[in-house]
Subunit: 199 residues, 2 copies
DNA sequence: TTATAAATCGAACGTTCGTTCTATTTTTGT
DNA sequence: ACAAAAATAGAACGAACGTTCGATTTATAA
């Protein structure tokens, strides 16, 4: 790897650290330069614009996300097992990232700020939702979940429980161990297994 | 009302508009001055610091939130009816605010930024959660919900469904009419009525 | 090794930020 | 109506922002 790409990776690692532990708005070129011991202009030359830096950080974050929470799931034997494993690893991801998900932060910070960054984070989150939904569909096909399960509704509820878990833990509604998430998830799955009717 | 308080209210209305339609970070004194046709210093004199402005906007937003989604539910006959009514009005609130809740935005933007603003928004969200939880407790007491219902778990799930509904609608996971939220909420309530067992 | 290319720096730019002054205008109470 | 008080304006500040540019150091390939 050339020197350029090498330092760029280090810069991105530092940038991700700032963006997650602080926020995307606080990821500033001057601050990042200080954090990496570089000059503003030297660092800037790697990206040529703030927007490119932001996009690169999101790409970098996605890469790590896939490595740490998606790839390890491939070993699980069934779609439902994959799904549950993802939820587990997902929590670990958030925990490592100092209790704030960079994608969700970015989504909120850019939600009314049209541009390439908003488009990217939107597509990243949508991609995750589609992947989760795909697992649900497969689980239904393999009869791990009841045939009358509405996949999208299931995915929506699953994702919501996760989102709520993070949010309420932050607010202080007593879910620091995320046990509430686990319980609700377990019940959600049980509700869709064992052929008892439910729309 | 004195001239000062009067213009201050107008300023706050404009500030809330900016904070919701844009974001809290984009609520800047210069921008707000332009929006209200005042000078920066003239406007600044009303608050004496950016932080005070932010706190005032959150107070103002809470006031409006209470007026538009909490107060009207007082007329509902029962705790459960109040709860459902709140969910309905709540959606209206979000819709008016251009599909972004100022409290949740503020929570995310300030989540790792210690200070009075973070403390306030945290307490505001916690207060809402406690109020919802109180209604759930009352509904259980009045046997509108099954006796074995775990109130906090119920509140957690309810709130999560709402959060998820907003998030996914933004991302584009097809819930623009929030019908998914309605369905999930209905099922959540049904699940806790009619004495069938569920932990 | 040496020429070329890539990477990095330092200084400066125009803006905008929050904030602080000192005036000046406008409202208020008597 | 007038004096006191409150509200607003204007100009300026230091700092930080993203960005540009020319010079200089460092890595790469011949």
């Amino acid at each position: 790897m050339s020197k350029g790409k090498q330092t760029k990776q280090q810069v991105l690692a530092a940038a991700l650290q700032i963006a997650t532990s602080k926020s995307f708005n606080e990821l500033t070129i001057g601050r990042l330069a200080t954090a990496t011991g570089m000059s503003k202009s030297g660092l800037f030359a790697h990206f040529n614009s703030k927007e490119n830096l932001q996009l690169a950080v999101l790409d970098y974050a996605e890469q790590i996300f896939i490595e740490t929470v998606v790839i390890p799931t491939k070993e699980e034997p069934s779609p439902l097992a994959k799904l549950l494993k993802i939820c587990e690893l997902w929590q670990g991801w958030y925990r490592e990232q100092a209790y704030a998900c960079i994608f969700i932060s970015a989504a909120v910070e850019f939600d009314d700020q049209p541009g390439a960054v908003r488009d990217l984070v939107k597509s990243q989150l949508l991609e995750l939702l589609h992947y989760l939904n795909e697992l649900v569909v497969e689980a239904i096909a393999k009869k791990e979940l009841d045939a009358h399960t509405n996949a999208k509704q299931f995915t929506y509820e699953l994702y919501s429980l996760y989102l709520g878990s993070q949010h309420m833990s932050w607010v202080g509604f007593e879910d620091n161990t995320h046990s509430r998430f686990h319980l609700a998830l377990k019940q959600l799955v049980e509700r869709h297994t064992g052929e008892k009717n439910e729309q």
